[in-house]
Symmetry: C2
Subunit: 378 residues, 2 copies
């Protein structure tokens, strides 16, 4: 058996002649060796309301704000930042998140690296609450990455340069407003259109009158007839739409599968794929899945979903809600490995309070900052 002193000596021996500064972890070990009390994980949270730059309209609702819950997990003076974004139609709220987070006792843990155990516990505290769970997961990842001193994309072995162009969503509106929005979105290489209304063709034609950029379409389960859906998808494909999200209701996998078989473009499960267990269920019915941290309960399960989807030869899209740069920067860590990214969430709000991964010339851009690469700016 090795003593801690042996560990420290052997570590430096293993490093050969290179100067490697002692990691924060060996500092903790020394503290333990001196019988100092081990630090506990401390969770705190507070509500925040995101102001949207434009009224946000999808197939089923419109709104001008998004309620979020901001979290922090602190360990030995280092703080990780997390966020739960809760668009009302998804069923979570600041009240439900506060109720959930009040039940989460992280002080029982003194090793922030044991993410498998800690996050299994968080998941077990109550069913559902995926965004509230994600807010803890994100803060823990940010913390663990900061303690390790490396960003998560690097810990996961991904290439920073392989980040995708993000889609930028053009909201449903009158043709003249749509044309104006497209012009304002000049920076973005690929645009996303919300579908599922009577005005879909009018929207697409308005966009095509001012740009030939590739488009993606999100029906949000809005199509009710599979033959009409596939006819529309062919029409959209001829007009440069390269991918469609969730054409029909998630409760009807057979119709979505029927469409996927016949579609000239990938069909992505969004509402139909929330967590890891849904990836296998989506196989055969959809071409791929849309991973969102607020659905998956956070980064750890999202990373597993990515690996699973790849092993099943499925396309992977990475999506978001309207979120601050805190959650967007967390999602961006996974982005070098995806086919499509829809990470415009922080661009749609006027009161971001985090600095993190950015969208530069339409491309998700990672920096070599540890953890999720986020810091507070206000």
């Amino acid at each position: 058996m090795h003593s801690r002193r042996d560990f420290l000596r052997n570590t430096s021996l293993a490093m050969g002649g290179v100067l490697i500064a002692p990691s924060i972890d060996s500092k903790f070990l020394r503290s333990f060796g001196n019988n100092m009390p081990a630090s506990k994980l401390k969770l705190s949270f507070k509500p925040y309301t995101l102001d949207l730059k434009h009224v946000f309209t999808i197939a089923t609702s419109s709104r001008t704000t998004t309620p979020v819950m901001l979290t922090e997990v602190e360990f030995n003076g280092v703080t990780g930042y997390g966020e739960a974004s809760m668009p009302p139609y998804l069923g979570e709220s600041q009240e439900s998140a506060a109720a959930f987070l009040s039940k989460v006792n992280l002080e029982q843990f003194d090793n922030p690296f044991e993410l498998e155990k800690i996050l299994a516990y968080v998941d077990s505290v109550a069913p559902k609450n995926p965004a509230a769970k994600a807010s803890v997961d994100l803060a823990l990842h940010d913390l663990a990455g900061k303690l390790i001193g490396q960003p998560w994309y690097k810990i996961w072995g991904f290439e920073k340069e392989k980040t995708p162009n993000t889609t930028f969503t053009i909201g449903i509106d009158k043709p003249e407003v749509v044309r104006q929005k497209v012009k304002e979105a000049e920076e973005y290489k690929i645009l996303k259109i919300k579908l599922g209304r009577d005005t879909d063709r009018e929207m697409i034609e308005a966009i095509r009158s001012v740009t030939d950029k590739p488009l993606t379409g999100d029906a949000n389960q809005g199509w009710k007839d599979k033959q009409q859906a596939i006819d529309m998808i062919h029409w959209l494909h001829e007009r440069g739409v390269v991918m469609i999200e969730q054409p029909m209701p998630k409760e009807d996998p057979d119709s979505n599968g029927w469409i996927t078989e016949r579609s000239p473009v990938p069909i992505i499960a969004d509402e139909a794929c929330q967590r890891l267990e849904d990836v296998v269920k989506a196989k055969g019915y959809y071409s791929g899945i849309n991973i969102k941290l607020m659905k998956s309960t956070g980064m750890r399960e999202a990373h597993k979903m990515l690996i699973l989807a790849r092993a099943l030869n499925m396309k992977v899209m990475l999506g978001c809600m309207t979120e601050t740069s805190c959650a967007i920067s967390a999602a961006a860590q996974l982005s070098p490995m995806v086919d499509f990214a829809d990470l415009d969430g922080a661009l749609l709000i006027s009161n971001d309070i985090f600095d993190g991964a950015k969208v530069i010339d339409g491309k998700v851009t990672l920096y070599d900052k540890p953890g999720n690469g986020v810091s507070k700016i206000k």
Copy 2:
């Protein structure tokens, strides 16, 4: 856009008031900033022959040595260690490994953290060669972990305390020799028996005459009739056998699946499950899979196989060849997450040349050393 100086300043700001020593990575960034040449990855390798303590007999052959290839990947003065173990019946040799490794050009890479890209390249150099590929993967993981300053079990978020008891293999032999071997294996909590010979029942009865420890059985595809196999499995189950590996030939998934449906104990795919793509194929035919680094091409794919098998609700076993502590210590990083571990490979040889994870009182035991926790002892 942030300059490198901004990055370094922001990093220290993000750390709040805690003293965090600069990571080796920010040291590299400074080097780049000073226009110093970036270091390249350098691969070297040399053959080594493992001497077995006992003649090793399975259903199809006997031998007293195992040829291996030892690898090193060096970057900026830090060295990672890897190993290819190549029992002859699996088709690789020191010659084939040398031929493969001679074609691997790691000097095209200057970022040892981009494991996804580097290992995709290594896999593309030639088909097959899983052990030779693993020898590069292991050395790269050991290197990256040492550069990060953390062991892989921790980077992966696993609990050190959750490591399993390893099985210890009792080779096929005469009853009096078997009884003696069982007594010598007093330290181990669970024993593994090679099956598939006429003497199977005699072996089990000899063991049961001296111990009531749980047993696992490995048929190595040695059973040729499914009804005889399930009858034998019921007989073994009554005598405390808790799991069976690969009852029938891998080319016959239906018979193996027929056995799995009827078996009172988990049936694990070994020969039938080599790499990631085989996990999905094994689902429905086997209760679980045996992951071995020398089959999976190394740790990165093994970790993906673990995540995939868990998502598919399959049991996971972690196995090995006769190997030095270099490869065993690499496998041990994954072991907190498995149901069964067969990591006795380094215990079966008399000329180990590495210090790493150990088996203590029958339990796989991890240390808080960075990378794969291996260092040379000779």
